[in-house]
């Protein structure tokens, strides 16, 4: 690399940092200056109230070690934007209808392509029995359905071992139907359940197709059926929830590899088992989750088999120390093995990613927040399935550790 190209790279990098900083400052200024414009809107159509809500966020990430989440983070990147808008109405006493559109850009992912995030009808026969049909957010563990709504959480990034930001659209919703309800258990609290079947169809702008590009495969479709359930016990101890979720998937992908058609499919269903507990009382919240993801695929036109096994867990705690300030920390643990890649030793940096995180969130007002978060990662967990680190943005190889700083601001109304 010549001195001139280094100079150009540095100028580009500082330009990108400046651009991201300006974007964040501009967004923050607009949001702080016009909070009244952020009130939720409610109007009537044919005498039925329709509520409109929305959200958006802008992040800036700088890392030392590896580029992260498909962004050029070692030079500082602000390519982390998302927004959504929904409308819903309680049409009858038991039936409600709603829809949310969503778009994001995360480095090379999303590309601001708008998508229907959820759109469904919900008929509740009783508190213990309801049905939803359409595109429905998937209930899996504590936060799969709300993982991208960072204004609900103390953290700018959820524990990436269990809720990877790059894989957001893999399991966040399904096109199908749910049966759900909550039944009282008297003095033993109550129990909530959800069961569902549906279909998943990944965008070409999502993480797995991008990940496969590094191995010379251009996937045009990656889709399949999903089914699963969730049971959670709302214990009689105020704020204590304990539960378990399961998800099965039968997927297949098609594309081009080395100029020839290429296919892969589940040899047996992909399975996710997630065990979780939460204690939330007053301003304190403590969460713990364990996730086991197993994936047995026939790859390269079904000529090879890969069994990938992911074990992930985290423990997090957050406390609202003041009305507008919430502090939090978590430890996130991720390991992966792969029979095809011969990845069996999870003590290697390629077999794990351990992330220690400290975070602070400030509510500027009821609608706008700013978060500052430090990540200290050991390993990069590079297996047959994405985990935040991609060779396309780390062309000279991976460093064993990564330190990261995330600044994120967002609004919701």
């Amino acid at each position: 690399m010549t001195r001139e190209t280094v100079g150009i790279d540095n100028r580009r990098a500082s330009g990108a940092r400046l651009s991201a900083a300006i974007r964040i400052m501009a967004l923050g200024t607009v949001l702080c200056a016009a909070p009244t414009a952020l009130y939720a809107q409610e109007f009537k159509i044919a005498d039925k109230a329709v509520q409109v809500h929305g959200f958006g966020s802008q992040g800036f990430v700088v890392t030392e070690g590896n580029n992260w989440l498909t962004m050029d983070t070692t030079h500082g990147s602000g390519a982390m934007t998302d927004f959504g808008l929904n409308a819903s109405s309680q049409l009858t006493k038991k039936f409600r209808l709603g829809m949310q559109v969503y778009a994001r850009n995360l480095g090379a992912l999303g590309e601001f392509q708008p998508s229907v995030d959820w759109a469904f009808g919900d008929y509740r026969f009783a508190s213990w029995l309801g049905v939803r049909a359409g595109k429905v957010k998937t209930t899996l563990g504590l936060y799969t359905d709300t993982q991208d709504l960072d204004f609900l959480h103390a953290f700018a990034l959820m524990p990436q071992s269990v809720y990877p930001l790059d894989l957001r659209d893999a399991n966040i919703s399904h096109l199908g139907g749910d049966v759900y309800g909550t039944a009282p258990l008297g003095r033993a609290g109550s129990i909530s359940y959800t069961a569902y079947v549906g279909h998943r169809d990944d965008s070409v702008h999502s993480a797995y197709p991008y990940f496969l590009l590094a191995r010379g495969t251009h996937d045009s479709t990656y889709l399949g059926y999903q089914w699963g359930g969730d049971v959670r016990w709302n214990a009689p101890i105020q704020g204590l929830v304990v539960g378990v979720s399961g998800l099965g998937e039968r997927l297949h992908g098609e594309g081009i590899r080395l100029g020839l058609p290429n296919r892969e499919k589940s040899r047996r269903p992909d399975t996710t088992a997630q065990y979780f507990s939460q204690y939330a009382v007053g301003n304190l919240k403590v969460d713990a989750e364990y996730k086991h993801f197993n994936r047995d695929h026939l790859i390269r036109n079904f000529n090879s088999e890969d069994v990938a096994d992911v074990r992930a867990w985290y423990v997090s705690g957050s406390y609202r120390v003041m009305k507008r300030l919430e502090l939090g920390t978590y430890y996130s643990h991720y390991t992966i093995t792969s029979t095809f890649l011969g990845l069996v030793d999870t003590t290697l940096p390629s077999g794990h990613d351990y992330d220690k995180v400290v975070s602070g969130s400030i509510d500027i007002n009821r609608y706008v927040n700013v978060k500052l978060e430090g990540h200290f990662m050991n390993g990069y967990g590079f297996g047959p399935y994405p985990n935040g680190f991609y060779p396309q943005v780390n062309p000279t190889g991976f460093a064993p550790t990564t330190k990261g700083l995330v600044v994120k601001t967002g609004f919701n109304f």
């Binding site: 508190s127 429905v136 957010k137 009282p184 643990h333 794990h352 919701n412």
Partner: protein, 151 residues
Amino acid sequence: MTDGLTEMKRTYLLIVLAALCASFGAVPRATDVTGDVKVIANLNIGASEISTEDLKAVFLAVKTSIAGSQVEPVLAKSGRAHDVFLKEYLGKSDATLITYFRGLVFTGKASMPKVCDSDADIVAYVAKTKGAVGYIGAGVVAQGTKTLAIK
């Protein structure tokens, strides 16, 4: 692997200690303040009393009917009755309740409930809206509504 387990134990221990410290400060109560708040309902609601479990379920949008009547929770924006009600009956702070409802709204599972600025506004809204249930200070006169006994 051993490092991971040690890390897990250390992290878990720290968080449990933090939780215990916070809980010791937050949980013990010297006085019963439930008498500072009362629950009112529109006259069309058949029930004259409500259990603490049902009250919590109604105000967390888990339950949409009591005694065969459809119900709609009405929240206060702030105030002592609001703080007492949230803490004693829902186990939440104002911030965590808002977060809870935003979680429902942005996943399509419920609408944001009606929020009133004052006890008087709550009384007026509950009186005129079928199925409405709200909470106000115990000493506030609530004409045109019924008070639900909490059992």
